[in-house]
């Protein structure tokens, strides 16, 4: 029997932990977002990121990828301009 002792880099990304979310999910108001990047630093999943697009006031806004979001709410509680709202699932 051959047992592999190594794993390919970053392979857990195939596990979509978004299905852990039970109650709430984050929604970024792209017009309120000032592009500070705090959500990117605090998200435990590392899935808040700059979209590369700008809002009407010229700020590069961020998004959260719900495929892996566990709904912890840290991005929303740390956002300095309250641009992120935790919404009830299914709404």
């Amino acid at each position: 029997m051959k047992i592999l002792l190594t794993a390919k880099p970053g392979t857990t990304s195939q596990v979509k932990t978004g299905n852990w979310r039970e109650l709430v999910y984050p929604v970024i108001d792209i017009e309120k977002c000032i592009g500070c990047g705090i959500c990117e630093r605090v998200c435990p999943e590392g899935i808040c990121f700059p979209t590369g697009e700008k809002n009407s006031s010229g700020k590069g806004f961020y998004a959260c990828d719900l495929n892996w979001c566990k709904g912890c709410g840290l991005c929303a509680s740390e956002c300095p301009v309250k641009a992120i709202e935790m919404k009830e699932e299914g709404k």
């Binding site: 592999l4 794993a7 390919k8 880099p9 970053g10 392979t11 857990t12 990304s13 195939q14 596990v15 979509k16 932990t17 852990w20 984050p26 929604v27 970024i28 108001d29 792209i30 017009e31 705090i38 630093r41 605090v42 998200c43 435990p44 999943e45 590392g46 899935i47 808040c48 990121f49 979209t51 809002n55 998004a63 959260c64 990828d65 719900l66 495929n67 892996w68 566990k70 709904g71 912890c72 709410g73 840290l74 929303a76 509680s77 740390e78 709202e85 935790m86």
Partner: protein, 313 residues
Amino acid sequence: MSNTKNNIKYKAPLSHQLNPGHSACAGCGMIIAARLVMDTAGPNTIVTNATGCSEVTTTQYPMTSFKMPWIHSLFENPAPMASGILAALKVKGLEDKVNVLVVGGDGATFDIGIGLISGMWERGENTLYICYDNEAYQNTGYQSSSSTPFDANTTTTPPGKKSSGSQQLKKDMIGIALAHNLPYVATASVGNTLDVVAKVKKALSIKGPKYLQIYCPCVPGWGIEPKDTMNVARSAVQSGFYPIVEYIDGELVSKKSAQGGSALGGVTKKVSIEEFLKPQKRFKHLFKDENGKLEIAKIQKIADENIEKYKLI
């Protein structure tokens, strides 16, 4: 959903050194710290990792969340493994081109691995040791370690008629690191992400053995809401409960830089010890009766002593 709120169409670029899909709890402080550390160290880094949540949650066989070379071995092994890696890098002439990081929880660091960490430090190996301090053996169900703070409720220090939680004081790991004459010894809190990044950068710019201890709330172990991880990590610092210090060549240098105002995560008289303790179930028993008040006064004294010892204000 209005159009301006639509964030569904964007896909995460997965540009961090630590990928998602790991099984850390929602709101885990350790995994936030791990990502900050790995991103700052960059791809030219080899990591040895002790047993604990940082390993269990990121490397479910046959997958890994890490993008850089990363090796797990038994609790006491990551420090000597780093020595072996350094020896191999030397043979290849790469010892100045690759960062060697050792990662362990508080159980792995304060208790189980301490003898071999001491050896690595004594040999003066060019490594950065990262201890993510969540103040107990969290992965196996919240047993106390020698980093568990006084009066905390863990599964091995349950409060009751004869006890108010852990009766031992937290081990002074900073003092132990300093006793090894390391060129760099510091603490940080995950509640201040920029300070974590700055300290990893600083440490990696220094040759020799470095020690960085990062305060990382554990959601189920401390009994907090996932959304409160950063708040609790900050109020620990602001109340003086968890001293943020930085020593270069044995000299306390951080008084101004890392402490700063409350915004930077420094101590502020405005945050009481109660404010730190209250949101955590591990301290809930202290808010029941008059005896609890006396215990809280003892914890306040520990914080006051920290403030004085490390000149935090």
